[in-house]
Symmetry: C2
Subunit: 324 residues, 2 copies
């Protein structure tokens, strides 16, 4: 399969402060019949700015700020500094904890328990995967559902799966996709939506969220025969399979909205580290057929999941302090 | 829309005792190109017989039998006697409780709590809906997940929604549909499956169960445009919408497997009570196109859900007593 470099063949995105001065709106202008780019970093920035303003208001009003505990077990560095830095930017207090790889499960559970009881902490983020000798489900289930800002507690997932039950939080990567659609005023209700996935921590919540907004949803995975037949019916296509350029232009319904989540590393001797990041969506082809597209070039869904972590922590703190 | 009376235009179903004498197998023979009938009452009977044999073995071996508590609040009679009677048939001890309509939520919670602590009780069934002054989610969440034989505890639903997490029980009506497919050796893996629903307590678990078996699933509801375009792609179609004869022959992919769950009452002065029960599937038309069909005439999914309640209670008791 050929290698395609995403490029902006796109519409214009405008980020404007609203009249009230409290938020921003995104508007898009199409150009020359090509797909409009859904600019995720711009949306992430918008969300973070909103959070920052509200944290500031909370601090002035009641003298409290949201607190986020980030628990990391083991050696690998994964976003820790990003979390601390980003929290500090918007005024959220971070409580980073780093435990040794050979910590016992009990130590991690004790750590979770302390944060559950700490009124300064409104969100608890566990870095996964945990070391192999720990029961991830047990540790995850120990997090108070009121502080489960990652949305993976079985009760929050269970509530998400049943309409009429409201989860306190939902997983951030799929929520990020829905947030992009909302912020660009791209209608979901009554649309055919297809999620291509292989990680059920992403595709299932994504499908459940789309369903809650009255889309008719199909999940495609590696067992699906002729996936292109199904994607061609999609008004909204979210791809998170991690197969470079798998989704070609011929897979797309004209005018569809495309969210590229999945990424792969392709060898490229000209790239900085010998590899470059490529999306599931063959951008060069798809941008000529789709009406709007979130390309991988605009940054995975990493930045928006970070912004939503801040937003979820704020929501939790507002709930705790009964602050509107 | 015309009214159609289901009739058997079908294959032959054989219920045979297995060589070990411990179970039965169902086999089907097609006839004359028409759809084979999936005979749900036969499957229900098979499940109940299996449960009865295993309860008997448990009693002989460890002197204990499974126990099922059925909590009913209010005046309406709904299957209570069926439960007691069917439990007694297979040797399960029933613990029926009937509370007054004006009972407090606390009284119901106390009742649940007593059964949670009672080692003779392995399953707790709450009759829904509860009176309006009670918080159903709160009461349901109070049931121990080990005794949640109805599978609606948020944790069990949450586990069902995430592959890699195993629910202790799953909701019985959707499980009944999957059980029918299994018992008739109708393949699910790699198939396109469509669930037509409007009650998310049915269609969502049904979709999740099909997905766990590697089907590619789409849920259709009242917001779906042109549902017939989607049903025509289905290798497996489960309908639980409750719209008389909605699914016509032209909606069906030739050779598809059809499970009719939804029923409606149509006025019929010639019928015993002035009404007759009609399914979502226009049987007369669909049986000419499908390869297998579970018609409404074979009894909703009521009988199989009752059998699965017994089966779940047995499973719970075996888990509790560590009895294999």
């Amino acid at each position: 399969m050929g290698a395609f470099l995403p490029r902006r063949c796109v519409g214009q995105l405008c980020l404007r402060t609203t009249d009230s001065g409290r938020g921003c709106t995104l508007s898009i202008r199409s150009s020359s019949g090509a797909a409009m780019v859904i600019d995720q970093p711009a949306v992430s920035l918008e969300i973070s700015l909103e959070v920052g303003r509200q944290v500031s208001r909370m601090k002035k009003s009641i003298g409290a700020v949201p607190g986020l505990a980030v628990i990391h077990v083991g050696e690998k560095k994964r976003y820790d500094n990003d979390y601390d830095f980003t929290c500090s930017l918007v005024g959220i207090k971070a409580f980073p904890v780093r435990l040794a790889e050979d910590s016992s499960e009990e130590e991690v559970l004790n750590c979770v328990s302390r944060f559950n009881d700490d009124p300064r902490v409104h969100g608890i983020l566990l870095h996964f995967p945990l070391p192999w000798h720990m029961d991830e489900h047990k540790v995850l289930s120990a997090v108070s559902i009121e502080k489960d800002v990652d949305g993976f507690h079985p009760v929050n997932i269970g509530r998400l799966a049943m309409r009429g039950r409201e989860p306190l939080f939902v997983p951030r990567a799929p929520k990020g996709c829905i947030e992009l659609l909302h912020r660009y005023n791209l209608e979901i209700k009554g649309k055919r939506a297809v999620v291509i996935g292989r990680d059920h921590t992403f595709d299932m919540p994504a499908a459940l969220l789309l369903q809650r907004e009255d889309a008719t949803v199909t999940i495609i995975d590696s067992t699906t025969k002729n996936p292109e037949e199904i994607t061609r019916q999609a008004d909204i296509l979210i791809s998170a399979i991690g197969q470079a350029n798998m989704v070609r232009g011929s897979w797309i319904k004209p005018g569809a909205v495309i969210i590229n989540v999945g990424t792969s590393l392709l060898k490229d001797p000209d790239a900085l580290h010998g590899y470059r990041v490529v999306g599931d969506i063959c951008y060069e082809e798809v941008c000529k057929v789709a009406s709007a597209i979130k390309p991988v070039a605009a940054g995975g869904v990493g930045t928006i999941t970070l912004s939503l972590l801040l937003s979820n922590t704020l929501t939790s703190a507002k709930r705790f302090h009964n602050f509107i």
